[in-house]
Amino acid sequence: MKHFFYKILVFGLPLLLLTFALDLFISNNLKLSNNYHGEYEVWNDIYKGDIKAEVAIYGSSRAWVQISPEILKDSLNKDVYNFGIDGNTFPMQYLRHLEYIKVNQPPKHIIIAVDFNSFKKKKDLYMYKQFLPYMLWNKNIKTHTQSYNGFRSLDYSLPLFRYLGKNAFLKKNLNIGLFSKTKENYRINGYRGMDKTWTNDFDKAKKKMSSYKIKIDPETLKLFELFLTECSKKEIKVTLVYTPEYIEGQHFIEDRNQVIDIFKSLANKYKINFIDFSQNAICLNKDLFYNTTHLNKTGSELFSRLLVHDLLELKKNTSKSIE
C-alpha cells in the first residue's frame, strides 16, 4: 500500500506542477486576447498596477461607450481612466473598484455612470469568463462572484479546474492570444466610441414586452451606500451621472422616476453631486444613439463635452460657495 501511495505521489506531483504551468500558460494567453469587449484589457491595466488616474469613471457599458477619458483629460487637465464593465450592474462595478484600488493609487474623483439598472442583481454573472485568468486565489473575486450562477467553489482554488469544459472558448481565445499578429487595443483607457447607427434593439424589446419594470435589489443598494461611505472616508469625491437615454426609451421604463429619486436622495444624504442627463436635449436626437440607452461615437463625444462643462460648472459653484 505504501508503494502504491508513493507511486501515486510520484505520478501526481509532476502532474500537479504541470497543472500550475498550464494554468499560468492559459491565463497569460487569455489576458492577451482582446475579446470580451476589451474587458481583459481593463483588468490587465488594473493588475499591472500603474494606473495613475486622478479621475476614475465607473459604470456599465453606459460608462465605457459613452464617456471619453481623452475629452475629460483635455479639459480637466487630469489623467482619466474609464473602468466601465460591460453588462454588469453595481456589484461587479464595486468588485472592479476594489481590485483597482488594491494595486493602484486610488483616484481623487470617481464619476459613476448610473442608470435604471444600477441596483439590479442578476442571477447569472454576465460575461463571467472575463474573470477566468485573474480569479485563482483571488479573495475579492470569490467574495463578489460566488453568489451568481457561473462558477463552482473549486474554480477559485484549484488550478486549471475553472477551465474544465471550456475547450471551445479556450480554442477560440487562445488562438487569438497566441497567433494573432495585430493585437490592437479594443478600448483606449477603458473607452471605445461605437461607430454605429440606430439598431432595431428597441423594436425587438417592445415586441417582447409592453414596458420594462425596474427591479431594485436592496442588497445592491446597501452595497452602493457602503461604497459611498468608504469613498467619503478616503476623501474620494464622487459624482453620480445619469447618462442620456433616448426619449422614446424613457417612456418604456416603468417607475423610472423612482430610481432617479433614489439617486437624488443618495446625493443629498452623502453630499455628493448628481447630474441627470436624461432630461438633456441630447436625448431627443436619435442620430446620436445606436439604441435607447447607448450613444454612438458622435453622441458620446458630445456627451463627454457636456459632462466636462457641467463638471467645471459644479467646480466653479463649489469654489464660489467656499469663498
Binding site: M1, L18, R152, L164, G165, N167
Partner: protein, 478 residues
C-alpha cells in the same frame, strides 16, 4: 453521482482510504462501508429512490432464505414468482406504465373507442433496470440451487448496491460477485494500478470520444432534415462510437473502480466493433446483459433446440425483450427486431459460432476479407443504431431516407477534423489492445517509463480538455 464528475473524484479516494485504513481490513466493516458508500453514491442523485433498492434487497434476501429452507416444489415456485413479480413490478411501473397506457389509449382510439386515461408523471429511478436484474438473478440461481442463499444481509446489500456497477452495470451474477464479499480482501498493488489504468481508459472513452461525438450527433439527429445524406451517415457512425465510448467507458470505470477495492467484475465489452458477424458482435457487446438473457430467458425457452419455428420465435423474443429492456419506446423494439433479423440467418445456417477467437489473433492486420466482414457488421449495427438513437420510428425512417439519396456522395457539411483524428487514434489503440480485457491493459507497458507516463499525461490532458460538459451516461436512462 456521475463517474465523470468532481464529486466522484473526491468520493472515490475518500472511500478508498476509509476502506483500506479505517476498517483495519475487517471484512464486515469493509462490507458495511461499501453499503454506506453505495447508498451515498446512489442517494446523491435522488435519496428517495434508495427506499426502492433497500426494499428490493430485503425482499430478495428474505426470499433467498426461504428458498434455502423450503423443499416443497410448488412453494419454492411461489417464492420465486414473488421475487419476479416484485422486481419486474417495480420495473414495469417505473419504466413501462406510461408506454403501455399510451399504447392502449391509441389502440382503443384506433378502433373507435376512445378512453380517458392520464399518463403519470413518473421519474425513472436511475439504474433500476440493472439492479433488478441483478437481484432477480440471485433469486433464480438460489431457486435453481446453483447458489447457496446468503444469511449475511450486509454482504447481500453490498452485492445489490455495489456502487461501481450499481447504476449502469455490468450486471453481475450473484454466483460471481456475492462470494467475493465473503472472502477477506487484500490490497494488491498490480491490480490497483491496473484498476487505475482501466479507469483512465474509461474516462477517455467517455469524455473524449463519447461526449465529443454526442455534440455532433445531437446536432445532426435534431436537424436531420437540414443535412445531406453524407452528413447523416457520418452522424450515424458518430453515434455508433458515442454509444460504445459512453457505455464501455462506464463499464471500464466500474471494473477499474471495483478492482481498487479488491473485486473482479466481468468484462462487459470485448471490442465489439471488430466483430466479423452479428453473432460475434452480440458475444462482445454488453456481455453481462446478453448472457443474462441467454441464461434466464433464451435457454429456458428452449434456446436453439427444437423446431426451426421455435428457434426463430426464441431469437425474436430475446432480441425484442432486450430492445424493450433499453426503454419503453417502439424504436428499441425495432432495434431489437432488426438485430434478430441480422442474427437469424447465421443461427439457422449454424454459422453463429464461426468467430470465437479474437480477430486477427496472431496477425498485426486483418485480411481484406476480414476487414470487409468487420465493415459490413459495423454498417449493419450502425443502421440499427439509428433506430436506437431516433426519437420515434418516423424520425428513424426520415433519417434513413435522408441518407439514401444522391447527397450521400456529396462532401459532408460537418467535418470535425479534430474528432476524426481522435477517433482514428482511438480505433488504433483499441485494435492493438484487442487481445486484452481493455485496450490499455498492456498498451505501452513495454515502453520506457517516462514515455509511458507522458502518454498517460496526454490522456489526462485530453480528458481535462474535453471534460466538464456535464454529459450524463446514455445508459443511465435505461
Amino acid at each position: 453521482m456521475l463517474f465523470n464528475s468532481i464529486d466522484f473524484a473526491l468520493f472515490l479516494p475518500l472511500v478508498f482510504i476509509l476502506y483500506w485504513f479505517a476498517t483495519k481490513k475487517n471484512l464486515k466493516l469493509q462490507n458495511a462501508l461499501i453499503v454506506i458508500a453505495s447508498y451515498v453514491f446512489y442517494g446523491w442523485w435522488d435519496w428517495r429512490f434508495l427506499s426502492l433498492i433497500i426494499f428490493s434487497t430485503l425482499v430478495d434476501y428474505t426470499i433467498g432464505i426461504y428458498l434455502g429452507k423450503e423443499t416443497n416444489k410448488n412453494k419454492r415456485k411461489i417464492l420465486l414468482w414473488i421475487s419476479i413479480l416484485v422486481n419486474l413490478g417495480f420495473l414495469g411501473y417505473f419504466k413501462y406504465y406510461n408506454f403501455f397506457l399510451d399504447n392502449f389509449i391509441s389502440a382503443f382510439s384506433f378502433f373507435g373507442h376512445p378512453i380517458n386515461a392520464r399518463s403519470l408523471n413518473i421519474i425513472l429511478p436511475v439504474g433500476i433496470s440493472f439492479y433488478t436484474f441483478q437481484t432477480l438473478s440471485y433469486s433464480i440461481d438460489v431457486y435453481r440451487k446453483k447458489l447457496e442463499p446468503t444469511a449475511d444481509i450486509i454482504s447481500f446489500a453490498a452485492f445489490v448496491s455495489f456502487f461501481p456497477q450499481l447504476v449502469a452495470g455490468p450486471i453481475e451474477r450473484a454466483t460471481n460477485l456475492l462470494p467475493q464479499f465473503y472472502k477477506k480482501r487484500h490490497f494488491n498493488y498490480s491490480r490497483a494500478v491496473d484498476g487505475l489504468r482501466q479507469i483512465l481508459w474509461g474516462l477517455f472513452k467517455k469524455v473524449v470520444i463519447a461526449d465529443n461525438c454526442a455534440a455532433i450527433v445531437n446536432t445532426i439527429f435534431d436537424n436531420h432534415q437540414d443535412y445531406s445524406g453524407s452528413t447523416l451517415l457520418l452522424g450515424a457512425i458518430f453515434f455508433a462510437f458515442q454509444i460504445y465510448g459512453d457505455f464501455s467507458g462506464y463499464s471500464d470505470i466500474a471494473i477499474g473502480t471495483a478492482r481498487l477495492f479488491g473485486f473482479n467484475l466481468k468484462q462487459n465489452f470485448a471490442f465489439p466493433y471488430f466483430s466479423r458477424d452479428i453473432a460475434e458482435f452480440w458475444r462482445r457487446w454488453h456481455i453481462s446483459l446478453s448472457t443474462w438473457f441467454r441464461d434466464y430467458l433464451y435457454i429456458p425457452l428452449g434456446g436453439s433446440r427444437g423446431s426451426k419455428s421455435k428457434v426463430i420465435r426464441n431469437v425474436f423474443i430475446i432480441f425484442i425483450v432486450s430492445g424493450f429492456w433499453h426503454g419503453a419506446n417502439w424504436t428499441f423494439i425495432i432495434w431489437g427486431a432488426l438485430n434478430a433479423i441480422y442474427f437469424l440467418p447465421l443461427l439457422l445456417a449454424n454459422k453463429n459460432r464461426n468467430h470465437i477467437e479474437v480477430v486477427a489473433f496472431n496477425k498485426k492486420y486483418p485480411s481484406i476479407k476480414t476487414l470487409l466482414n468487420i465493415l459490413l457488421t459495423f454498417g449493419l449495427t450502425t443502421l440499427a443504431w439509428i433506430f436506437f438513437r431516433a426519437e420515434n420510428i418516423n424520425h428513424a425512417f426520415q433519417y434513413i431516407k435522408g441518407i439514401c439519396n444522391t447527397s450521400l456522395f456529396s462532401i459532408p457539411e460537418i467535418r470535425p477534423t479534430d474528432l476524426i483524428i481522435l477517433l482514428i487514434s482511438f480505433i488504433g489503440i483499441e485494435w492493438l489492445g484487442r487481445r486484452n480485457q481493455y485496450a490499455l491493459e498492456t498498451f505501452g507497458l513495454k515502453w520506457k517509463t517516462p514515455i509511458r507516463i507522458c502518454f498517460y499525461y496526454v490522456l489526462i490532458f485530453l480528458i481535462f480538455w474535453f471534460s466538464g460538459n456535464d454529459q450524463t451516461f446514455i445508459y443511465f436512462q435505461f
